[in-house]
């Protein structure tokens, strides 16, 4: 059979048809069946979901003074696969970033596409480096914009502010507790990039704007904080205590006006700080309060109408055997009124007041004053303290707890109890955060004062308050805490330090003073606690002699700053203060 031209032509056509059909099937297979898979692969190569980071909100004090904010920095990264002239690149980077040559070489030779060379590089340095690299036509080095947290006041208020980690998450203080407000919400943008990794703006996809973090306004007044920090520094220089805490607060609202601890640390050099320096002892440290706790004892007895302020209690002339153990007063007292028990700080008198109230009722009052539970302040790590129920009390506990032994309380709980006396018997929730606003000042949330409960009646609070005036007088244990021109209410505390191995440490004391002024309408309550203060004469290591004068200096300056009206003749009270410095103290 001979192939004629028509058959040949038909065969060629058939061949082409088969070939093109094959191509068509392949095309349909790739374009339709495998479309999603290959589109995904292509997108993986060229499309990125680029995160747009939200800026962390600032922290400000009550007067809008900046306490924490962000500083733009750059993170220098390398794409080792794009670095061609390694020697020249290394030479420029070494000088600009001050990095060791071997570390730099290791990173650039790693072959990885994303190697962080250095974080937190100042913007000016990064810009100069970028210009140098561009001039030398060197590729492979990129600059990621970032921020670092800056604390302009260094160590001031460090325990309250706290700090963030390198991922900008709050770790301590308000930075941690207000994380949800400070952090903001990151945005994103889908971008396509070319082979060189540069964005093709034309093909920008879906986009969501970031929402920057809110500003957190604290109740802390930096002027008062400054007064407190300076006086605390002076006290540390004078007494070299192991630990020290000072708190100022507004009793009517529970707003913390100042809070300082020693030891402290520089927030901008937080990596160098030791754990001991980072503890906010006002909320995470427990102490036996000593005689300052007698306000709870007296308030419970008065509120239960077991006694009146002028009821006389026999104080056993200085030694009272109860439960087979002697209880001592620092001086021999016979009959003391309830007021005088506070003024003279009689342990025996306080024990007898608690006995009149009874175990269960006294325990209830301790709990009602907020001891044994967290106060709810916006600071992380707060502890509840230790208040044992009456079932686990020993026979003598009812005589020891009234004078502030066998209980563990935080300084914050102690000042809240004193604030309850100052404000007419209301236990407030302490607050360090005043409000949350946007950067342009729009209010998001305002934190209002919260009354936790009415602990004692206003009449009882006034009775205790009247007694506490006597403490800061020639008759009381804290004459040195007097402030010229003002009537002050306060209570001293001197407690032997608890030995972690059991018992008490000989010759080591926790001295404290808690008070408020003006007595009639308190503008602030203060608490000064010094743990293991070293006095020239160990016999003079008392709350009234060590913590009292520190409180007086702070209160005097704070009163001046707050422009409080002196109620008394200043000359007279100053002279009285000088004369009474040598009076007995406890």
């Amino acid at each position: 059979m001979k192939w004629n031209s028509r058959i040949r032509c038909a065969l060629v056509c058939l061949g082409f048809t088969a070939l093109f059909s094959l191509f068509s099937f392949r095309l349909v297979y790739l374009q339709m069946i495998k479309h999603d898979e290959y589109a995904g692969l292509a997108a993986e190569k060229h499309v990125d979901k680029k995160k747009i980071f939200a800026e962390r909100g600032s922290i400000l004090d009550a007067n809008n003074e900046v306490l924490a904010h962000n500083k733009p920095v750059a993170t220098v990264v390398a794409d080792a696969t794009l670095v061609t002239n390694r020697e020249a690149t290394m030479a420029i980077l070494r000088d600009a970033l001050d990095l060791p040559a071997d570390e730099l070489a290791e990173k650039l030779e790693s072959g990885r596409r994303y190697v962080v060379l250095k974080r937190e590089v100042p913007i000016a340095t990064a810009t100069a480096l970028d210009q140098k690299l561009t001039a030398a036509k060197l590729r492979g080095i990129f600059f990621d914009r970032d921020t670092t947290r800056i604390y302009p006041n260094n160590s001031m208020l460090c325990h309250v502010i706290g700090f963030t980690d390198f991922e900008h998450r709050g770790i301590q203080g308000v930075e941690a507790s207000m994380e949800e407000y400070l952090h903001g919400q990151d945005g994103y943008r889908f971008i396509e990039h070319n082979r060189a990794g540069q964005e093709i703006v034309l093909y920008r996809g879906q986009e969501r704007e970031p929402r920057d973090g809110y500003q957190v306004h604290l109740t802390i007044d930096l002027n008062l904080q400054n007064i407190v920090e300076n006086e605390l520094d002076a006290a540390v220089r004078e007494y070299h205590p192991q630990k020290a805490t000072v708190i100022l607060m507004r009793p009517q609202t529970g707003e913390i006006l100042a809070m300082a601890n020693r030891p402290n640390y520089d927030l901008n050099l937080r990596s160098e700080a030791k754990p001991e320096q980072m503890k906010n002892r006002a909320v995470i440290d427990m102490m036996e309060p000593g005689s300052t706790f007698k306000i709870v004892t007296a308030a419970s007895a008065l509120n239960e109408h077991k006694v009146r302020p002028d009821t006389t209690i026999f104080c056993e002339n200085g030694v009272w055997n109860f439960g087979g153990r002697p209880l001592h007063d620092h001086k021999a007292y016979a009959d003391l009124s309830v007021q005088d028990i506070l003024i003279k700080s009689s342990n025996i008198g306080a024990a007898k007041l608690a006995l009149s109230v009874g175990d269960q009722k006294f325990y209830e009052y301790i709990r009602r004053f907020g001891f044994g539970e967290r106060t709810g302040i916006e600071l992380p790590g707060e502890i509840s303290g230790v208040i044992r129920p009456p079932q686990s009390w020993s026979k003598i506990s009812i005589t020891r707890i009234p004078m502030g032994h066998e209980v563990g309380v935080t300084p914050l709980q102690m000042i809240m109890a004193m604030a309850a006396i100052a404000n007419g018997g209301k236990l407030m929730t302490p607050r360090v955060v005043k409000s949350i606003t946007t950067e342009d000042g729009k209010t998001i949330t305002t934190f209002s004062p919260t009354v936790l409960r009415q602990v004692i009646s206003p009449e009882t609070a006034a009775q205790v308050s009247k007694a506490l005036r006597g403490v800061v007088s020639d008759r009381g244990t804290a004459a040195a805490a007097a402030v010229p021109g003002f009537t002050i209410c306060g209570k001293t505390g001197t407690a032997q330090k608890v030995d972690p191995k059991g018992g008490y440490e000989h010759g080591k004391y926790v001295v404290s003073f808690s008070g408020y002024l003006p007595a009639d309408n308190p503008a602030f309550v203060g608490l000064v606690v010094l743990d293991d203060a070293k006095t020239a004469n160990p016999e003079l290591n008392y709350g009234g002699l060590v913590a009292g004068p520190i409180f007086a200096r702070i209160a005097e300056k704070a009163a001046r700053y707050l422009d409080l009206q002196p109620q008394e003749d200043i000359g007279k009270t100053s002279a009285g203060r000088m004369a009474s410095t040598n009076a007995s103290h406890r």
Binding site: H69, N70, P152, S155, N226, Q567
Partner: protein, 122 residues
């Protein structure tokens, strides 16, 4: 003798040619405009990116300046300058403070006090 050969020309349809030329030019122009506009879009995208970078850079500079201001005006910085003698401040003594509302001694309850009736003149 051969008669002089007559020149023969293919006839050209001028109208059709013109139509094709116009169509070709139109297509070519459309293509060129498309390419030009596409390039313009890329170029403007690059410009947009450059402006965004510039804006981000300006914001960074602004933030850096804010940080510097905050650092220089912070309490610790001012105190350091005070210690160095750069700032001169003298504490105000108590006798130098003038109070607008001077404290008054309380009056006995039965004291006759002058009063002014603000609405009396009406």
């Amino acid at each position: 003798m051969h008669a002089p050969r007559r020149k023969s020309f293919n006839s050209v349809n001028a109208a059709s040619l013109a139509r094709w030329i116009v169509l070709t030019v139109f297509l070519a122009l459309t293509g060129l405009i498309y390419v030009y506009l596409t390039l313009q879009l890329y170029h403007q995208g690059d410009q947009k990116k450059a402006l965004e970078n510039e804006l981000a850079s300006l914001r960074s500079q602004n933030d850096v300046a804010s940080v510097q201001i905050a650092a220089l005006t912070s309490r610790s910085a001012l105190q350091r300058r005070l210690k160095e003698g750069y700032l001169k401040m003298i504490p105000i003594a108590e006798q130098n403070i003038v109070r607008l509302n001077a404290p008054r001694p309380p009056r006995p309850e039965d004291t006759v006090q002058p009063v002014a009736n603000k609405h009396g003149g009406r």
